[in-house]
Symmetry: C2
């Protein structure tokens, strides 16, 4: 049906957050937003953390706009513009092949987004945000593009957003083409392959970020001598090992690689000049608590990882919930996050783990809330429109 | 004069602390105590920080013993024993060539040591301690050994002690011989070459060390993939550049290398598995204060460095005392350490530096005292005996 002047077109989606276990840090080409190394992440459940986005267009729409949690966002930046431009080009192509299609590519876009989690908490909100934006517009334009195709576009908005086009375990292949055309995400395994993966996010009390990740990563590329070793040797080996760990559902390997890669990334931040500190004493305490949990279990039952901020994300398997989440609840049971059915069903450990007094005290002071979640699926189409 | 049964032989020395600007971290051969990389340090003035040691022997001395600050120390460890053994062998050699010499090598040794600074504060006390022990026994034995020869012995006691056999700017050449015979210290430049070097030590409130440096460094060697890059490429380049900076009295180069090498060393600690954190939020705040001092001066007038603990050592030149120590005094003027003539003559900066509110607050809480010192000379013989 051809669109009439009165017609309003809209499409909505939910998109998930992902938390990398092999980290993205460093751009090879700033303009194309291609990375210095491949990365791999776990997509988290949209029941707990998600961006909800509606894309709308009509001939009446006066200008391109983006609202996030009720606030107008600046969309003049090259990253957002690149997403709009690429998606419109794909729509234009469809329209040029089928004259019956409404001319959506020529209409202005109104994008309305809402996160169900605090945007500023450092919870990879830009990844979910750009994944949702690209997916919503692709739905609106009825593009036949695959998630991999869309991931290439989302990558230009925010690097790690490309991995949020997939559920489960997804990777971002850095690519080698000069135009960035092979720098896209792919599914390593769907959530159903290893659905037992859980995550407890320990949200640190709001503190201003040391350096934005965009500025920080390029400072690392420019000044850290250790970073070259990371991208040339450390990450390529670990990517292979991590894919294997996921395929084999080998939690101990997954966990060791996850912790080591987080440490390696933060080591490169410290080797940056001037040095960048994203972890603080609360983060160090979270590491010590995980060390103590693993020591008590006499095997690796949990793995910490930290993005460009002090929040700890602790991965564990459902079968070890008592040992891991129970030990966390014993320390942080009075924080927000244990109220729902899942949180209530976790029994706090009765006795404190050995040598965790200092870490416990620091965590009680430094963590403001806990979010319990799990591996989840990719973007979900919805008829719940925000405009 | 041959010793009679009643004769008591004694010799005493002072030995200085040194704080590395290219760090020692990692043993190549644990038994020989040879390092994975060369290192370079500034010897600090014994007017401020020193170990005072008396070595005594007589036929009446019943057993080898070592007292530090009035407390008996365990000397059964291989490190202390190696020092005793090597020094006795050298004495034995002298005695075998000159029958008139008293047979000191066969007598037991009583060593009494005192530090004029808190031993547990993480102020390289073992470096000054072993340098003093070796120097005092060498004096007692009237050995003709050079400081380089003695440094090879002191190295076996505590690696970084070898650099405290020299004043000024000294380096520890890692060596390549299998028996460790070329792993010794040498003088890069005497204190008189660049006497304007000052150091402000910001002593962090007592906190238990994360991991001992002996255990920590071998964990780094065994587990950090970035560490190999440090020892193979990063340090060799920086050693050359640092020697040049000292020879040229080029403070800006000296400072940049000092800060980068400290960061690089702590990055390798973080890349260790499990990760080691020696710096804490107080240390991070000290870095930010130094960054602010340099930014305000619009050139590099100070350099931070951190050993295996949270204390900051800030190097600067006498000519920039107001800009550096004055800015530190503005933040930490109420702590111990400013009482003497030197401290009183430093004028605290009147207005706080931009963007240092958070760092100031953290430093006020986390630093317990300040020690103002400067580059100094090597071990000094003394007739003040402690026993």
């Amino acid at each position: 049906m051809a669109g009439t002047q009165e017609e309003v077109y809209r499409a909505s989606t939910y998109a998930p957050v992902n938390i990398a276990v092999i980290k993205y840090w460093g751009k090879k080409n700033v303009e194309l937003n291609t990375p210095t190394n491949s990365s791999l992440s776990v997509t988290l459940s949209q029941d707990d953390l998600r961006t909800h986005t509606t894309a709308l267009c009509s001939v009446e729409t006066a200008k391109d706009s983006l609202t996030l949690n009720g606030k107008d966002q600046d969309i003049s930046g090259a990253r957002t513009q690149a997403c709009f431009r690429e998606l419109r080009a794909l729509r234009k192509e469809l329209e040029s092949k089928d004259a019956s299609l409404p001319k959506l590519a020529d209409m202005k876009l109104k994008i309305v987004s809402e996160n169900n989690f605090p945007t500023a908490a450092g919870l990879a909100s830009s990844a979910a945000g750009f994944a949702a934006l690209v997916r919503a517009i692709a739905n609106l334009y009825q593009l036949p593009s695959s998630p991999a195709d869309l991931s290439r576009i989302a990558r230009q908005g925010s690097g790690s957003a490309c991995r949020s086009l997939f559920g489960g375990y997804s990777a971002w292949e850095q690519g080698s083409q000069a135009d960035g055309s092979d720098s896209a995400a792919y599914e390593v395994a769907p959530a159903s392959h290893w659905p037992e993966m859980r995550a407890a996010i320990l949200v640190a009390s709001a503190e201003k970020k040391d350096v934005s990740s965009t500025a920080g990563m390029q400072l690392t590329v420019a000044t850290s001598p250790l970073f070259q070793e990371r991208i040339k040797n450390v990450v390529p080996k670990r990517m292979k090992a991590m894919e294997k760990a996921v395929h084999d559902r080998d939690f101990e390997s997954f966990a060791a690689l996850t912790m080591k890669d987080s440490n390696n990334f933060h080591a490169c931040c410290m080797d940056t000049f001037p040095p960048i500190f994203y972890m603080n004493s609360t983060s160090h305490a979270a590491i010590r608590l995980c060390d103590a949990i693993n020591a008590a279990a006499d095997k690796t039952v949990c793995a910490y990882t930290f993005d460009a901020g002090p929040n700890a994300v602790v991965y564990y398997l459902a079968e070890n919930e008592t040992q891991v989440a129970g030990a966390i609840k014993a320390v942080l049971g009075d924080k927000t996050g244990w109220e729902d059915k899942r949180g209530q069903s976790i029994k706090a450990a009765g006795t404190p783990l050995p040598n965790t007094e200092a870490a416990t005290e620091t965590l009680k002071k430094g963590i403001s809330r806990v979010i319990l979640t799990s591996v989840g699926d990719g973007p979900r189409k919805t008829d719940q429109h925000l405009c």
